[in-house]
Amino acid sequence: MSEVTAPQATQELNLVEAVDRALGQILEDDPQALLLGEDIGANGGVFRATAGLEARFGPDRVFDTPLGEAGFVGAALGLCLAGLHPVVEIQFDAFSYPAFEQLVSHVGRFRWRTGGHYGLRLVVRVPYGGGTRAPELHSDSPETLFGHVPGLRVVVPSDPVSAGRLLVSAQGCGDPVVFLEPKRIYRRGRSPVPERFGPTELDRAAVVRDGDDLTLVAYGAMVELALAAATRLEAAGCSARVLDLRSLYPLDRESLLAAAEETGRVLVVHEAPRHCGLGAEVAALLQEEVADRLLAPTLRVTGMNMPFPLFQNEDDALPSVERVLAAAQVMLDY
């Protein structure tokens, strides 16, 4: 695949529409690609991320599975052996847990079990995260779990264009990718997207706003929040960089070290519980590598070490601009 450089007709899509379009592009370009999941066919997925695709590609390529995430994630591995390239939808974050064993004990280990020779072209899409007034177990952020176990790439987009390009790239990378879609911003507003999504490097973070005094590291729905915080910080005279991680495993070490070296302060924001979360990893990595360049400790604004609350309290549990500003202030005053 080569970068798409020619000017293109664009259209305004929101994030979930961009996912839908990227999936259509994948099915069109790759005759071995197929989609599996619960209610993704006629229904178009509970979030409509596959709307229209069954009609376009038929029920064999947009397949409504029976229930049983372990079974159909495991079957996706077998489909790969048959030369197919499945893209699996898990309906909601917490329903990835029944497939956990298949992902950890098999999907992540497959290439290693072949001495590196054969990989799985398998993407597991998971709408995740809070902020949507959803019932219990529909707001989890399981990224740490998938990043901690070996052999899985974990990728999270933060806007329509990155969603489309990262998804197309994940599907082409030759290894299994857990693709976490921040459902809170599925319909957050439309951006112009190209007619075709060109590939992009999968393990690169993106500087979505530059700055000198502090870096806010975020991903998924938290990028928007970080940007809002950065605007507020600017008004207060602090120039904040926002680094959208995009790849949670592997981490983009270079961008993280550059952020630490160039801004001296790094603050990490995520929804997942704090204990052993991505914030911990970033803080530890910076300690190991560039402790002497840090002007302040690496702080974390994260979810709490408790179940994501029923939705009356979800705003209390989610990182907020205020919490980010408070932490930033501590770091600037350090």
Partner: protein
């Protein structure tokens, strides 16, 4: 329906004699239970449209099975509901406000599990069934005589936990009833794409337990069948799988659009099976109640729900600090008020 036990679907004479056998008290109790559930469901749908509760999975049409499951069992028996049986706890005496609060995303929505002997509402499909097995097995181990009932959908029978639960129940001889509400749909997935065996009760044979089929829209037949299963369990006969054969008369939930995936014609075909109307017809023709009496029962139930709905806004907000204090018996430092909202660096930075 083939091999499906029914009372209201029997020939009128047989129906009347069977209803009379059940007796007026029990029949009215069943009707009243259904009225309570229907009032809950109706009110919840309205509250959802008003934006006063979140997404809500209506159980319109499932009132017969649910009511029978409570009435056929004793108060000491354990129930293991899913997201579609959130109101059964009200038939055990819990105020309807509580499950409404749950759908409002309010922690007051957690009902008192030990008092009502109803497990917390279970969201991941089929994962409540092993819990039911454990509670039943515990009765056997403690020489107690309660039984446990776990609710499942047709879709749930495809999940691994259904299988492990059934097998463990059979091996341990646990007094448990697996009540499969076969409404023929799992969201948009029809039964024929869910499994190749279309009579779900037949799956019981794989575990060496009996499988029974009953008309899901017939509260009286449901009661009789569930009572039989409970008696078998209580007397040491082990688990039973009961398939309640019905149809999901409504959408999967308030966010669902059935028009995308199923034909309104089929829906119309099933609509007359609505269980309250059907029960009323039976009761009236058996001379066990008159329409006015039944309307009054339903009116009382509606009024009760209206009152509950009014209370909804009055439930005081609970703070995150208070909730954090409910996760562990001895709250860890990181969930204490000092460290929860403002991590300790905030203090350190001061």
């Amino acid at each position: 329906m083939d091999g499906v036990e029914t009372i209201l679907g029997a020939d009128p004479e047989a129906m009347v004699s069977q209803l009379l056998e059940l007796g007026r008290d029990l029949c009215l109790r069943l009707f009243e239970g259904m009225a309570g559930l229907r009032a809950f469901d109706d009110r919840a749908v309205i509250l959802q449209r008003q934006g006063r509760i979140g997404t809500y999975p209506t159980f319109y049409g499932e009132e017969a099975v649910q009511t029978a499951s409570v009435v056929a069992l004793e108060e000491r028996d354990w129930l293991f509901p899913t997201y579609r049986q959130t109101a059964v706890v009200t038939l055990r005496g819990c105020p309807p406000l509580v499950p409404l609060l749950m759908w409002r995303g309010h922690p007051g929505g957690w009902h008192d599990v030990m008092r009502y002997r109803v497990a917390p509402v279970c969201v991941p499909v089929a994962t409540n069934l092993p819990h039911a097995v454990g509670a039943a097995w515990g009765a056997r181990l403690r020489s107690a005589d309660w039984v446990a009932l776990g609710y499942a959908g047709d879709g749930a029978t495809s999940a691994g936990d259904f299988h492990e639960a059934c097998n463990l129940a059979a091996v341990t001889g646990s007094p448990v009833i697996f009540l499969v509400n076969n409404n023929q749909w799992a969201i948009s997935t029809p039964l024929r794409r869910q499994t190749r065996v279309q009579r779900l009760a037949e799956k019981a044979a794989a575990y060496g337990m009996p499988g029974l089929r009953v008309d899901a829209f017939d509260v009286f037949a449901c009661h009789r069948v569930l009572r039989r299963a409970a008696e078998l369990a209580r007397s040491g006969g082990g688990p039973t799988l009961v398939e309640a054969v019905g149809y999901r008369l409504g959408p999967h939930g308030t966010a669902d659009e059935p028009a995308l995936y199923r034909s309104p014609a089929a829906d119309r075909l099933w609509a007359p099976m609505e269980p309250l109307g059907r029960a009323q017809l039976g009761l009236v023709s058996a001379g066990l109640a008159d329409a006015g009496e039944l309307a009054e029962i339903r009116g009382r139930a509606s009024a009760r729900l209206l009152a509950a709905a009014e209370e909804l806004e009055r439930s005081p907000r609970v703070t995150l600090e208070e909730i954090a204090d409910t996760v562990h018996l001895s709250t860890p430092w990181d969930l204490s008020p000092d460290h929860l909202r403002e991590p300790s660096w905030a203090a350190a930075g001061e």
